[in-house]
Amino acid sequence: MKTRIIFIFVLFLSLWTALILRAAYLQVIPNERLQSLNERLYNKTVTVQSRRGAILDRNGVELAGSTTAYSLYADPKIIENRISVAKKVAPILKESYHRISKRIYLYRNKRFVWLKRKITPIQYEKIKELKIRGLGFVEESKRIYPNESTLSQVLGFTGTDGKGLEGLELSLNSELSGKEKKVLLQRDAFGRPLLLNGGLEITHPDGSNVHLTIDSEIQHYLETELARSIAKFQADGAVGIVVDTKTSEILAMANAPTYDLNKPLKVNSQLRRNRVLTDAFEPGSTLKPFVVAAALKHNVIEPNTMIACEGGQFEVGGRIIKEADAKHKFDNLSVSEILAFSSNVGTSKIALMLGSQKYSEFLRQIGFGQSTGLSFPGESNGIVRKLPWRPIELSTISFGHGISATPLQVAMAYTAIANGGVLTEPILVKRIENPDTHNIKEFKSKNKQRVLSEEQANTLRLMLSAVTMPGGTGVNARIPGYPVAGKTGTAQKVDFENGGYVKGAYISSFAGFVPANDPRFVIYVAVDNPKKYFYGSQVAAPIFSKVASYAVRKAGLSPTIISEDNLLHLSKNKKDSTSIKRTKNNLREMLTDQMPSLSGMSLRQALRELKTTDKRVVIHGRGQVFKTEPESGESLSQSQKIHVFLE
């Protein structure tokens, strides 16, 4: 009996020992065959796609960003009551339940149907909480442009696969996309991933974030003013650019009309072009300062050199050079006056004195006919004719015809004058940050070459200031309290089909910088084919004035004391309201040549405001003033009548 008990005990002990030893053998002792089986079954290499990086402006405002979006699908064969499911899901998706129910019904024999693509994370969470059998989600990435149409032609957009197709999205695609990550994971029996060797989180690696030099507020303001000018002058389009003189950073680059980046394919591809860089056109009189600059550089002229302007007509090579305005019949003008009055004859003569070799060389030195170095897709180099130039060609090039340049090239050439004579590379991307590696790449402008001495640049700045003085063509570009330097341009549009120029079609432009004594902003504005008015002084100069005044206010630049007339002394009691009233009166006196603001006034109030002006007032409608022509702040000198619209 005892033997039997011992035998059974030993038997069970042996069996259990064998079991334990077998378990130990499988779990503890390394076995290559078992290891490889394990790896094959439970290990998997997963490719994790990176999330596309964001594009931000210089102040960190998000211009383009990616977010996870979930697309909702249904398995119609599993869904028991489609109407009930549709009624639960429809309010969350903000759709009609009929539509959802119908969709499930139409695909009732299939195992998959999209209900809605790319829903928000909040919608996703709410539907997931419902735990409806037969509904599932596919994770996707969605590119969002929160500012919609701001900076649209510059930013560009991505395709459905998330790759950049135009603009910065295309040129910076490799930085924004980031790199996909390959992760080796162990999975359990249900396929859920496990940690390997003590820790590896599954997170989506992010592409780099790109910080631009653009100030989105200046950008928006410029776009708004360009859009207004298109509406007012019934123009075909407009472009504008604002450059920081000190750093050559591009603060704004605008094309009008714009388009909504969230729906890029709904507009014509021509509208999506960044015309500031891709379109080269004849700059017209905005090129005149550069023939003067070249002549100064080669000591051909001085600012006070007198040039005979032949009464407004000058024969060169069998052709007649005329002034832009037939009424201009100048006799002798100084070089400063040639710029101020925009004399074609005067600049032709300066160009002929300079010679084509020197002028051509200078134009190339200051950046025309070559890339600016911005590396933007589709950037045009413009055209500067190869030598030799005939005398008539030299003359026409001197006042901006027979040469083509992009708005950016013109702006950078003016920046060279404004910053003391150095041509620099513009920059649009300030820095690129990788959020995973925290690696930061910063970009700064490079100096290309010195084109003018500082003294020559200062002389030219002073001469360009005269353009905006009373009597000059750029008077409408003035900003009270800040000296402005610049040049107007009115260039005929080239007829690409038939050759020559399109009759009655012009590009009105203004290029300048402010404040003239210590330039901070260079601004170039061009309006394509304005109707009714077409001179740069009437169309583009006022846009420059508004944008420049906004930019200097935003930057907090103190006004420059121009004369004692600008100063009003406060009484010692700073709360004295009479000094404020006196200020308002003085303002009114100083601005009598400008249209006052009548918005919201009744007819009686408006007529009282306009009592001081000698213009004829034409009333339209009844009620309160909502619009005037000219608009408030604009010069009255060129208007015969004032139209007041009431409703």
Binding site: Q27, G65, L567, L568, L587
Partner: protein, 99 residues
């Protein structure tokens, strides 16, 4: 006698120790798995929070877009755009006429 008893119990004790050690190893591995599931759950939650954060940041950017702010100021706050000559810069004791 006590020494004989000790000799009799030693093999059993050793076996017990071995069994306990093996159980400890197995238990530790199970614990690692459990922690791994927790980490997976937390990383999933983190990812969702991060997605909601990104979505909210973009919504914020939409709300604060300059055009929207301008329209709101003009229509709801009855503000008007600054006209030329309306803004006066003050510098020291003098009023400088500008803008």
């Amino acid at each position: 006698m006590a020494a004989k008893k000790e000799k009799r119990f030693n093999p059993v004790l050793n076996l017990l120790i071995i069994i306990l050690t093996m159980f400890t190893i197995v238990f530790t591995k199970m614990e690692i798995r459990r922690i791994a599931y927790n980490v997976l759950k937390i990383s999933d939650q983190y990812k969702k929070r991060h997605d909601i954060y990104r979505y909210n940041m973009l919504e914020y950017a939409k709300i604060t877009q300059p055009e929207r702010v301008r329209n709101y100021a003009l229509s709801r706050l009855t503000m008007t755009e600054a006209q030329k000559g309306q803004i006066i810069h003050i510098s020291n004791d003098n009023l400088l006429v500008a803008q």
